[in-house]
Amino acid sequence: MAAANKKNPKLAVYKFSSCDGCQLSLLDLEDELLDLLGAVNISYFLEARRHVEPGPYDIGLVEGSISTQDEAERIVEVRRECRHLITIGACATSGGIQALKNWADVEQFKRTVYAHPEFIETLDTASPIAAHVLVDFELRGCPVNKYQIVEVLTALIVGRRPQIPTYSVCVECKRAGYVCVLVSGGLPCLGPVTQAGCGALCPAYGRGCYSCFGPCDSANPRALCGHFEQHGTRRGDLVRMLRSFNGYLEPFKQTGDEYESSLNTKQDLGVRD
């Protein structure tokens, strides 16, 4: 690690309920890591180094959702010790995949999964950081795009607005010249309702977008899902598509809930006899 420069902002990286993939994206910045170390002091980043410098910190990056009482209390402390708090990834910005439990019976999950469910202390929901404390900026994605991390840190350091788009994945697809997998292949792609940032990674490989970046600005999942339904996608599958990564964010939540409440038959659910 480079020697700490007192003038540089102090960076802290925190983990809550998550898979560590977003923190790894930061470590995966191989070409930029040395520049980054020259521009910030990494003061707290347990995934990268054991040494911890005491707070307060200038910039806090938070990975993960709040899914235990302990986390709900700890995030308040984290907010207090960071001047700027930036959440990174789907878990921190929407609750993530573990937010699927928000629609399920958590007690039943505990009994099914754990030999000793009495040792498990968990909240009924996994929720985004912004549901608990004020967040200054959110970076979406499962995982985040590492270049978006560099962009937001650079903007913060030089004092300008981060260039993080909120328009759809379709914009990235069209700029890159990819052929639309929805129109030419009939795939149920969530790109038109999903925020850009991944570089249209899945459509580049001929697959539909799974919306790991969550809803874009002005997203209209109701109209898109209505179109998929007309073309043979079952309602149960639409619910699952909307809930995969960011189902707890509006307007995905509302559309998913509407579809779920309209499920009547096994065919709707997508259950095979």
Binding site: K174, V179, S184, A223
Partner: protein, 386 residues
């Protein structure tokens, strides 16, 4: 000397033509099959053309189909247009670096403009280039655009079989190419009928085997073009009084319906060959010593695009759809003296949910024309703006 008239060129002369263009230093761009569609890409031989292929298009629908013959150009426009070559989706405009003495040293050298030869360009796309010329190549020319534009070579193709979402005859931009090409091909069953549009085209024609076309071929081309224009368009749009009708019915209920279906995903604007909106943005490095300024494709459907000091001026999808359609079909006339729509049908085909500009505009126009007949007033303002 440029020769008027029409020439018969054997189909096996297409490959030599492409080779001659490449020999002259052109990067040859032509239709080819990629990822389930006929797109523009670099081609090095006639074998890369989608010979024997066509497509089926409808609102939000595109599928490649086999033809029953082996026509070289038996298809219409795909998702790409010349726009991506003349007005690239991302272009570095300049960069600046700190000089260490409190100032900056700029690098404003524009990126080198490739020398393109476009093969298989349709008349709607040539009309679109003429429309974009008014934006990028008029009083304040864009240097990159101007250079690509000046050195490009165009082998156009007349559309004998318009597609399911085509309506160029309504917009008076096709199906026959009238200007903007060096050579124009009409594909007949066993040969090409070729017309010359420039001195450069003439010189290129001289380098492949050709002969004067006979009167039958000329007659056949005329007949094919008039049949295509009159009977084979998948869509149509009555443009009579359309700008006035649209601009005086900005609260028509059809806008609400379109706004409910619109995804604001921006696909229509990005596939449109005339849409020119762009974002200018700067990238700075972590040291703060170097900055690059870029221009990339923007869209009036992105919320950020509607940001003016103090807030977003078009926060609803309805407002953005209305802005786009009225600009394209109405206010473009006031701004540039022409329609912004060339009838290529891409916005219909590549809209994920198949919203159709001809259907939306016609729904409003028909309603207003009907109302005019009944009440003598063409303005409907009773619906409140939401």
């Amino acid at each position: 000397m440029r020769r008027d008239g029409m020439f018969a060129v054997a189909k096996d002369q297409l490959d030599p033509l492409i080779c001659e263009l490449a020999h002259d230093g052109y990067t040859v761009i032509g239709p080819t099959i990629r990822d389930g569609a006929i797109t523009y890409d670099e081609i090095t031989s006639a074998a890369m053309l989608p010979r024997g292929w066509t497509q089926e298009t409808d609102g939000g629908h595109y599928r490649l189909k086999r033809r029953t013959d082996d026509a070289c150009f038996g298809f219409v426009v795909g998702p790409h247009s010349l726009k991506r070559y003349l007005f690239p989706s991302r272009l570095k405009l300049f960069s600046v670096t700190r000089d260490g003495q409190g100032g900056f040293s700029p690098d404003v050298e524009p990126p080198p403009a490739p020398k393109y030869a476009f093969v298989g360009v349709r008349s709607c796309d040539l009309a679109a280039v003429a429309v974009q010329d008014m934006v990028f190549n008029s009083e304040m020319p864009d240097p990159y655009y101007r250079q690509v534009r000046e050195q490009m070579f165009v082998v156009a193709v007349n559309c004998a079989e318009p597609g399911g979402t085509c309506f160029c005859s309504s917009m008076d931009t096709g199906p026959r190419c009238s200007a903007g090409y060096d050579l124009a091909i009409t594909e007949l069953s066993t040969s090409f009928a070729m017309e010359v549009g420039s001195e450069r085209g003439q010189a290129m024609l001289e380098r492949v085997r050709h002969e004067e076309a006979d009167a039958n071929a000329r007659h056949l081309v005329d007949l094919m073009m008039s049949t295509a224009a009159k009977h084979n368009m998948g869509r149509s749009l009555d443009t009579a009084d359309l700008p006035e009708i649209l601009m005086s019915n900005l609260e028509h209920r059809q806008w609400d319906q379109a706004g409910n279906r619109c995804l604001a995903c921006a696909n229509c604007t990005l596939v449109c060959p005339t849409c020119f909106c762009n974002n200018i943005y700067d990238r700075t490095d972590l040291s703060g010593d170097h900055a690059d300024r870029y221009r990339n494709w923007g869209s009036c459907f992105a919320l950020e695009f509607t940001y003016h000091t103090g807030g977003y001026i078009r926060s609803s999808r309805r407002a953005r759809y209305r802005q786009w359609l009225t600009h394209k079909l109405a206010s473009w006339h006031g701004q540039f003296g022409t329609s912004g729509c060339v009838g290529c049908g891409r916005c219909i085909t590549w809209c994920p949910v198949g919203i159709d500009i001809t259907v939306e505009a016609t729904a409003i126009a028909d309603d207003v024309r009907e109302s005019l007949k009944r009440h003598g007033s063409g303005t409907k303002t009773e619906e409140a703006d939401v």
